[in-house]
């Protein structure tokens, strides 16, 4: 069967060779962790501990702030030093529960369902997932239990496990599929049970043959995908695997599908079977300013600076620090922000990857339109965005853009298209807000 794919997309340099063969190694827990109250889409968690409280690993330190929210748990054992703001990945300070690590790694008591999960009612399984603080580990960090609760008028027939990992540099999911294939499959089965779907497909790009083999050995139905960016974007992976296109403004459940990252599946297995909340994750640390790149198992709340130090990184000689992948990640002004549940990668890049030349004028070559996986015309949306033209932004379908960055990657004039499109989207959102207010 030919590798599945979607229309559009680009072929960036992948740069995964330095880390794809490196086994995951645990990073020593830091002296202090800063666990943000908001590591997910939705309402921030509400702190349920105070300064001076003793906590253990896995103990809940923040309760969900609503239905679309998630609890947070301590990733070390020790004493709560306070609840303070700390630099965050988006450049603005975030409220964090600060915990002094006592080094004992005491764990709080949780019992998993063990193999008896197969007899446990689906609602109870979902509640375990919710109280374990599981959110999408692919980067979007959407609370998993919400995704597993589609309304009754949206029947789900297929679960897709996203093992594409299409972002350059990142190899965290690759290592997860290799090292924890059985748990990926177990997690998939748990999710399938909750959703009541007949079919589960694990979708993997064909540049990870070892992972495909491992998953196949663990009994998964695999769909190989062509190596292309952004193959792992939700809408594109559904299109490639099932030839169904999520309608504009819609969600995967509108076409009967739920997509979950392979890392999320493992976290689900850990939570349901072993009773472990989400307190750590694999982070790929790499880039040409990093001397010893690695796939680290990191406690949530560890400052990024610690990961860089552990990997022999040259921060002074670096030009850019990115959290996430290079296509959709966030550039940082400092290595202070803590690792969160959604931090898949830490990239430290030298000046070779930073072009300070101003952009050239748009020459209407059309490469952005050819690259766009949503089949939009980025240069048109960009123009509308710069002019804050709401009508033009709407007719250019600005809100359909998934901000994958394919357009800007291929633009020969080095135009910051994604930034311009974000301006267009902001103008449309603001106009919609004003219109709603006056009605």
């Amino acid at each position: 069967m030919r590798d599945a794919t979607f229309a559009g997309g680009i072929h960036p340099s992948y740069n995964k060779d330095r880390t794809s063969a490196l086994g995951t190694s645990p990073l020593a827990a830091p002296e202090r962790v800063y666990v943000p109250l908001s590591q997910h889409i939705g309402a921030p968690a509400k702190p349920c501990v105070e300064k001076g409280d003793e906590v253990a690993i896995g103990q809940m330190i923040g309760e969900p702030g609503g239905f679309v929210s998630a609890p947070i748990h301590s990733s070390v054992s020790g004493k709560v030093a306070g609840i303070e703001p700390r630099a965050g990945a988006m450049g603005i300070p975030v409220q964090c529960v600060v915990i002094e690590n006592d080094g004992e790694d005491r764990r709080s008591e949780h019992d998993g369902a063990g193999d008896a999960w197969e007899e446990t009612p689906a609602d109870e399984l979902k509640e375990r997932i919710r109280m374990a603080g599981i959110v999408g580990m692919g980067g979007a960090a959407f609370p998993t239990h919400v995704k597993l609760s589609p309304p009754p008028d949206k029947p789900i027939d297929t679960l897709i496990l996203n093992g594409a990992e299409c972002e350059p540099y990142l190899t965290a999911d690759h290592r997860t599929m290799l090292e924890r294939a059985t748990d990926v499959v177990a997690g998939a089965r748990i999710l399938a049970r909750i959703l009541g779907v007949a079919r589960t497909v694990v979708a993997v790009e064909s540049n990870k043959p070892d992972a495909i083999q491992a998953l196949d050995g663990a009994g998964a139905e695999i769909r190989t995908l062509a190596v292309k960016y952004p193959q792992g974007a939700e809408k594109q992976i559904i299109d490639a695997c099932l030839q169904r296109q999520v309608p504009s403004g819609g969600l995967p459940m509108d076409v009967g599908v739920v997509v979950q990252n392979v890392g999320t599946a493992v976290a689900v297995a850990d939570a349901v079977i072993r009773g472990r909340p989400l307190t750590e994750r694999i982070v790929t640390v790499t880039g040409d300013a990093v001397g010893s790149p690695a796939n680290l198992l990191v406690r949530v709340g560890t400052p990024v600076g610690e990961l860089l130090a552990a990997c022999d990184a040259d921060l002074d000689g670096a030009a850019k620090l990115v959290l996430g992948g290079p296509m959709m990640g966030f550039a940082q002004t400092t290595p202070e922000p803590p690792v969160t549940k959604g931090t898949s990668g830490v990239l430290l890049l030298t000046g070779k990857h930073v072009d300070t030349r101003p952009p050239a004028p748009c020459i209407r070559c059309g490469r952005c339109a050819r690259a766009c996986p949503m089949r939009l015309v980025p240069t048109e949306i960009g123009r509308a965005g710069l002019a804050r033209d709401v009508e033009a932004s709407r007719s250019a379908d600005a809100m359909d853009c998934v901000e994958c960055g394919s357009c800007a990657h291929d633009c020969p004039s080095r135009i910051p298209l994604v930034q311009q499109i974000r301006l267009a989207k902001a103008a449309v959102t603001e106009a919609a807000r004003r219109e709603r207010g006056t009605r």
Partner: protein, 352 residues
Amino acid sequence: MTNKLFVSSSPHAHGGASSARIMWTVTAALVPAAAWSVWLFGIPALQVILATVLFSAAFEAISQRLAGKPTSLTDGSAVLTGLILALTLPPGLPIWICAVGAFVAVVVAKAVFGGLGQNLFNPAMTGRVFLLIAFPGPLTRWLVPRGTGAQLFDQPVTAYDASGGIVELGSKAVDAITAATPLGLLSERGAHAVAALSQGQEIFIGQMNGSLGETSGLLLLLGGIFLLIRRIVSWHIPVSFIGSVAIFAAITYAVDPAHYAGPAFHVFTGGVMIGAWFMATDYVTSPMFPLGKIIFGVGCGVLTMVIRLWAGYPEGVSFAVLLMNATVPIIDRYTRPKKFGLRRLTKGGSDA
């Protein structure tokens, strides 16, 4: 940390494409054809090429300075415009006329619209058409290429001395010999006058007279294929332009072979080769999307043939391209790709 980090919006990786590199690559693809024309026509060709290119660069730099913008000659667009314009001009064109052409191309057709990326009409074509209309005489004075002499076409030639006076062919004072181009002959004398040419290989390899870029179909085709391989042009415009010229010519030839020349003749004479590969494919003035490009190419081809066969000029490529340039905004509007999420769903989830 001593060094400051840079921040920008995502993405933080770039594919390395550069518009400057694209322009210089297209310029490079034209060099073989330009070199061939210099070999054919000697100094008169070299002077036209150098003058047009240098004046184009100079006018672009001056107009950018006057507009308060930084000069950007290294982006290669002025040089490319100059070279393309030069290849549409006859060898021996006086330098001052080349300068006027460069001015119209770079300043009137480009700078006035806002510079690179903002112009509606192809600058080189605009310059060429302006010169043709303003200076019809010099623009249609065709030197006979080296080594061919008057035997090439079995038709009258005119010989000139250095001051432009007409002399007897064969006398020592001959400095320039002109003759009609194949298209000119076709237009004036009909198909039989060029019948022999249509079978011959001269028009393909380029041993004929005409403007500098009209001569070698082979070298231009090779240059075009080079651009195709380097993914600088897509096949849509060249194939539909050349294809529609060939089909149109084939139909008229089949209907009346005595009156009309065949497809090979029309494809390899005049500006069709250079126009299809290098002028109609100019990103700024051609459509962005595949279906639009095909419409554009077919439009150019059809208009070229209509003008050649039934209008007052022997050559139609420059007018055809300019006319189609005007339709590009509306072509783009109606040939936009359909966005993701509009396709009808195939329920049941079957995959390829």
